[in-house]
Symmetry: C2
Subunit: 196 residues, 2 copies
């Protein structure tokens, strides 16, 4: 069932965009079209979208897709899993030659959109995985986000750009120490529910 782990430092994210709206098809397609995903390998089916490549571009593309959907003002959520250290194949390795310039950043930075996010980090294959989480993550320094504890997860509230920056920083720090790391997240914007 499970793919064999490789040694490449290719990162990936499998995610789904959820616009809670009758216009969900238009919102999903226009977000996917509006974002420049030329620096990542990308595949979409009816359950998830998967992007793979350099970490900087994986985060750049996922964040941009979410921002472009959320800025419609509809209640839009996204759930996904970032992963590094277990690529399974070499099909997307060609994308590791891209330059480090995040091509969607300039446009993303202009979008102000508050959101709430819960995420969990899973360093794999280490008996001291909890220590690695504690050691590497100091979210007290995360700029612009409010951090709180939640069951099985950590909650971040703030601007979407700041939330994704905090996610990326945490992920980058843990994967420097642990070869195979996954990070799950659910982010939600424009919810009619009052935050507890």
């Amino acid at each position: 069932m499970t793919e064999v782990c490789g040694t490449s430092r290719i990162a990936g994210c499998q995610f789904t965009l959820f616009p809670m709206s009758d216009q969900f098809v238009d919102i999903i397609l226009s977000s996917l079209e509006e974002v420049d995903s030329s620096k990542v390998w990308k595949d979409t089916d009816d359950v998830t979208t998967c992007v793979r490549g350099k970490m900087v571009h994986v985060f750049d593309v996922v964040k941009a897709i979410y921002l472009h959907a959320a800025k419609t003002g509809e209640h839009v959520a996204m759930s996904g899993t970032f992963s590094i250290g277990c690529p399974g194949d070499n099909e997307a390795d060609v994308y590791m030659d891209e330059t480090d310039q995040a091509i969607n950043k300039e446009k993303s930075d202009t979008i102000s959109q508050p959101a709430g996010c819960k995420f969990s980090l899973y360093p794999m294959g280490r008996e001291d995985y909890m220590d690695k989480i504690y050691e590497q993550i100091d979210l007290s320094k995360a700029r612009g986000v409010e951090v709180s504890a939640s069951h099985y997860a950590t909650r971040l509230d703030g601007e979407v750009n700041d939330i994704f920056n905090a996610l990326e920083e945490s992920f980058v720090k843990v994967q420097e120490k642990v070869s195979h790391v996954t990070m799950t997240f659910t982010i939600s914007a424009n919810s009619p529910s009052t935050k507890k």
Copy 2:
């Protein structure tokens, strides 16, 4: 940021229901109301719902909530993470005294609803975690579901009831061998996209 692991065998699932419809509020609320969650600890905020208790009831409740939402015929997805071995507190331990009878099963079994699902298993704290995945999971025996490989995940297609049965069996088998296990999933029904 992260809660300290405990030793209780309480299971939990943090999930979000995503009806891609203007009626998302009604669909979410009516599903949460229609399902009997008296045998699990439950908490909902604007990002996720968390249920905790005996494994059988956690799966029973999550499956029932999804089924009741999907049977509306709307495009409805759910993403979440099942977890065992890291409860973090004792608040929900009282639910471990419930009997094993799954109270929503009879109603759920009457609902026929095809869906597609991608899931990933993460046995924590073991250097041989990949072996544990291979050893414990034999999805070739999963009844009623079509199994295929996907990036970072395994895909299951079939009836929602059969998909959740396969998820539960896989999770149960791995947690018998590995103390702390998490399993992420995204399930989607009534999607207008043609399956690739």
